[in-house]
Symmetry: C2
């Protein structure tokens, strides 16, 4: 009960790849501030204050405020893509893999809501070249989900008239969890993940076929 970090169920503490300890504290503070107020409404003084440092300390570890956002967005997208890839490349039917992908993707968006919020909604605050890098990652995310749906259509498990549109809708549904989910709400990330996995299976015409866990 130190900082309530076990909501994802998976790893205990992310951002471990951010190596100087002070840099990590600043980055975690920035994630919280950006998620609460948005990038533009967050001041560098606020970030430094949350990390227990002076405003100038920020510029020892990061060149600009935007670099902080870029690092957060990059690491977050890598994590999101990793989650989807793991689900997409496991063994099992297309329905099982799609349910797994949606379930774990949604659990991440709900459990790591502050991170997901920054990652999904502050893209426009990045400069052109940083945004281009992130957009490329998003295309890989899209391709991963589309691949599962195409597999299900090919095997006859799914009935999907518009694969691209349905892929878009599935991802849209998952991403928007970061907007509305709150820890004070009636649902746990696990419950939302299970509900959404079921809804998505229905969307691809494989509904109610959720046999087993």
């Amino acid at each position: 009960m130190s900082t309530a970090e076990e909501t994802t169920g998976g790893e205990v503490e992310p951002w471990e790849e951010v190596t100087p300890d002070a840099a990590r504290r600043l980055l975690v503070a920035a994630v919280e501030a950006f998620a609460e107020r948005g990038y533009h409404a967050t001041t560098t003084r606020d970030i430094a204050g949350r990390a227990g440092m002076s405003p100038a300390a920020l510029y020892i570890h990061y060149k600009t405020k935007e670099e902080l956002l870029h690092r957060i967005s990059r690491i977050g997208h890598d994590k999101a893509l990793d989650i989807l890839r793991t689900a997409a490349r496991r063994e099992g039917s297309a329905a099982e893999r799609l349910a797994d992908a949606v379930g774990s993707f949604v659990r991440w968006h709900a459990g790591r809501r502050t991170t997901a919020r920054v990652v999904q909604y502050e893209l426009d605050a990045l400069g052109p070249e940083a945004r281009a890098e992130i957009v490329a990652l998003r295309r890989q995310v899209d391709a991963e989900v589309r691949g599962i749906i195409e597999d299900g259509v090919a095997s006859g498990e799914f009935d999907v008239p518009d694969v691209h549109g349905t892929t878009l809708a599935v991802l849209s549904l998952c991403i928007d969890v970061a907007r509305w989910f709150t820890v004070n709400g009636p649902r746990t990330p696990e419950e939302v993940g299970a509900l959404y996995a079921d809804l998505v299976l229905r969307m691809v015409g494989a509904g109610q076929a959720s046999h087993g866990s």
Copy 2:
């Protein structure tokens, strides 16, 4: 072909209820600026510039920059609620009414994307009392959709284990259209509306039952 205003298919020009002409021009300029850059990243000088006026002119018609956002948000939510109410209270089966609600709600979010973006994503920039007013409107939006789904469950048309969760997901799906939709994309608002209406019917267990227009 003056400003491309016929994308919604419905009325020709919104914001007609904003009465002094200069006030309406400022408000339309603010909608565009807020949608492009976000509320906090938009300056009053930018808004006034887009409306072809000096920065001081803004304060003749609006007390603060936040009042502009409040007015936009209020009018937009009223419109969104009106769209859903019209669909919910027409005659027809629950499936027809749900498809109509989702279709028209999505068409609005896609066709009036700039407005919808501000309305749906800049809520946190409002002060406490203004936000409370808007949150109350959102609850009515939620109740309208939930009502249709409950009707369908009661009549046996729908098979929905979690009515509240499914309502949330349906609205979430529609709202997120404002985030990803772009006029340069491959789909028209009408096409997205039709696709989403079909997907939502599948989500409630009334899929492929789209007989007739």
